[in-house]
Symmetry: C2
DNA sequence: TCCTTTGTTAACCATTTGGTTAAACTGTAT
DNA sequence: ATACAGTTTAACCAAATGGTTAACAAAGGA
């Protein structure tokens, strides 16, 4: 153990605990007491640092959704060639999500459970996925005849589905295929290459 | 309006209301009072028909997960040729889910939030997805050389990802692409054909 | 050393929530 | 009419839960 134990500040301890509890139980299922226990502090201290449950949740959710979304844009809006862009996206995206495998389900579920609140408070504060440029790029390639005729939107949905879904359905996939954590991790590493290959095989002429 | 209004029994009213509330708010977020209101009855009547929240939830969750899972098996384990099987799966699966678009997120989220409880109580009561035969079939086709060399497991994950994820990420997809309910429905109808085409284009020789 | 600010806690409070009870209502057979 | 079973409700209860308070400890500056 050459890891030096650095004293985390109380605020950091709370945020780490809140992240863990919120992501595993969701906003409705999380208990302030659980978070306090997890952080090893008194419950009142939570309210000293963060006014209330909603504020604390918002902080965690913001961080989480920022991890889930904005990395997408920088790739989608870049000037890379299409195939390279697809490869890049899979690589980057799966790498980030592998470090936070429960994050996509958490974010998508909370969005779904309270869309109005989500949109108003969280949405416009950060850049949201703008797939426009990607869609146009696909259309251009189709017209140029460099790839098969395919609906850009369906291609986009296929791409993000194959990257994100395995994390959302992690428990199901692991159980039906009898995979432990390590095996799952390895499969996701493989998918960084498998998905682009699968897509490009499908659309290249 | 030539629809005849048939009086639903109280039990049916409760189940319908519970389904609606549980699926939109999840187990933890659902309130017994909400369900009672939705059903237009007194809260105590809920406990008259279903002992407690857990029992009521279990009933709804069972029904939901039975809709999400077992239809898969009959197709996966049939003797259809591979391409036909893929076409059949997409067609059937998306049709069912289009009638219950929020069901996949609900089920996957609850599984994730309480895996132990899920496994013990719900899991073995019903047949669970057995993709074995599908995987073997893919491997056989690869060896025969009728399709490209591809990992059967990745192909399977790709298939279910592209079918299920759009429902899980419905809110996100609708928002980023500015789609109303009807447009989303139509895109999912297209996907019944688009997904098999996309897959077969990728793996056929 | 005293005083002020910041951090931390135990005890407490008000509301929400799942669940119970006992009474009342409804239809049906006697 | 009466009795009886199943159904429905208003009122109630206890536990859980988010949040507050007041007292206390620690740190630092005058």
């Amino acid at each position: 153990m050459d890891k030096i134990k650095i004293e985390k500040s109380t605020e950091e301890k709370i945020l780490a605990a809140a992240k863990k509890v919120f992501i595993s139980k969701g906003m409705a299922g999380a208990r302030m007491q659980d978070i306090a226990d997890e952080a090893g502090i008194n419950k009142a201290l939570l309210h000293y640092y963060f006014r209330n449950k909603e504020k604390l949740f918002e902080m965690i959710f913001m961080e989480a959704s920022q991890k889930l979304f904005p990395k997408i844009n920088s790739i989608f809006e870049s000037d890379m060639p299409l195939f390279e862009k697809i490869e890049n996206f899979c690589e980057e995206y799966i790498t980030i999500m592998s470090e936070n495998p429960y994050l996509p389900l958490f974010v998508l579920n909370e969005i779904n459970q309270d869309p109005e609140n989500f949109m108003s408070k969280i949405w416009d504060k950060q850049k949201f996925p703008r797939p426009q440029k990607f869609l146009e790029q696909v259309e251009k390639e189709v017209k140029k005849g460099t790839i098969k005729k395919i609906s850009p939107l369906h291609l986009l949905i296929n791409l993000i589905s194959m990257c994100i879904f395995p994390f959302v359905g992690k428990a199901m996939i692991q159980f039906t295929n009898d995979l432990d954590e390590l095996q799952f991790r390895n499969i996701m590493i493989q998918r960084k290459k498998e998905i682009p290959k699968f897509i490009i095989d499908s659309i290249k002429k």
